[in-house]
Symmetry: C2
Subunit: 231 residues, 2 copies
């Protein structure tokens, strides 16, 4: 029933336009009553984004299930991957919705509020993990925003390409840049081998991001499984 | 007239609540006609945020006026400072609006759309500056989001404290972290002095942010005029 309502709604939105379609039109096409619609969707806007509530719940549960020694930045990147996975599961629907959302200001506003809720879920987790760190709350907010921006950059490129290519790989690449800028693999236990040192020599005036690039290059692939950072 | 409308609107919003106040109520208290209201504000929501359009214009102009050799991250941080300056110019009004916005979902949505427009202005500038760089668009989006998140983290703290303390200094501190993570002062010309080198020795397994911290500490205060980074 829920899927039938979504299918009917999108058929009408594409045929007539979003604004010109009423909830009555949708329920008539789906062959159900108005009350059935509102049992599943609080408003017409919600039928455009039928899976975000569930995805937000999954993200919250995923973050809550994290272990105390998880690398926090890696954890929020993995949480963000739940979102792209939802889009990638149904490319045709995701692309349709992308075009619809671009055209309707009310839907763009709705989408911004959903993005904001994802970002707050990530930031909330990071705040807990960074509690007691100086500027922990600031760091949490900045990293959450960076993760969301990287995710959305890759997701938008995929949507603009009409869902061609591998959305999850594109998001992995983008999140790899954020992990490189902010994240870290946990320090391996000392027992695993002798302490291995890296020496970096740099000019004092070199831009910090270039120094970090050098450093990452010196540390090599063993440093992290993420793609080589280019920030 | 514009100021009188804003003053009348806020007086009523605080006395009766935002939803319970109509445009008719506002124009009656201000002693003007409805058309005057709509000459200044497209909707009731817009009267809550009377200065953002002008601030967005100023930001766009500021970014467009940048020189080709400006450090791009510093430039977007300076652009973000225009926003906090607007809030700090009128602390009592800013704090009132903060409390009002927290209570009214429609105003929160409006605010998110304004924040999004600031972020797109910053990202647009950075995209131009990073054109031709590998992952330039991604880098632009991530840095713009980080700048906005840092700015808003500091701004919200100041608003929550009822506008006590120095909002601009708090934002400077927060933006300093972003500049430390992503930015750089331009490389000084070689003619200025002998090349000064820094050597950093680190364990291979150390988290990258700790290495960056060490590095910044080794580079010392001369590195940058921003506060010492703590990311």
């Amino acid at each position: 029933m829920r899927d039938a309502l979504v299918a009917a709604a999108f058929r009408l939105f594409l045929e007539r336009g979003y604004e010109q379609t009423t909830v009555d039109d949708i329920v008539a096409l789906a062959g159900v009553g108005r009350r059935s619609f509102f049992r599943y969707f609080p408003s017409k806007e919600d039928v455009v984004f039928p899976d975000h509530e569930q995805c937000l719940d999954e993200m919250t549960a995923f973050l809550a299930a994290g272990a105390a020694d998880d690398d926090p930045v890696r954890r929020v990147c993995d949480a963000a991957r739940l979102v792209v996975r939802m889009y990638a599961e149904n490319p045709a629907f995701s692309v349709q919705r992308y075009h619809l959302t671009k055209k309707v200001p009310g839907l763009r506003a709705y989408e911004l509020s959903v993005v904001w809720r994802y970002e707050r879920a990530l930031a909330g987790y990071l705040r807990t993990r960074f509690a007691g760190l100086r500027d922990g709350g600031l760091r949490a907010d900045v990293i959450a925003a960076a993760v969301v921006a990287a995710h959305n950059n890759a997701l938008r490129s995929w949507l603009r390409s009409d869902g061609k290519g591998d959305a999850e790989a594109a998001v992995d690449h983008a999140l790899g840049q954020v992990q490189a800028a902010f994240g870290a693999t946990p320090v391996p236990p000392a027992a695993e081998g002798p302490e291995d040192v890296v020496v970096v020599v740099t000019r004092r005036g070199a831009p910090l991001w270039r120094v970090v690039q050098e450093l990452e290059s010196a540390l090599g692939r063993g440093w992290d499984e993420t793609p080589r950072p280019r920030f």
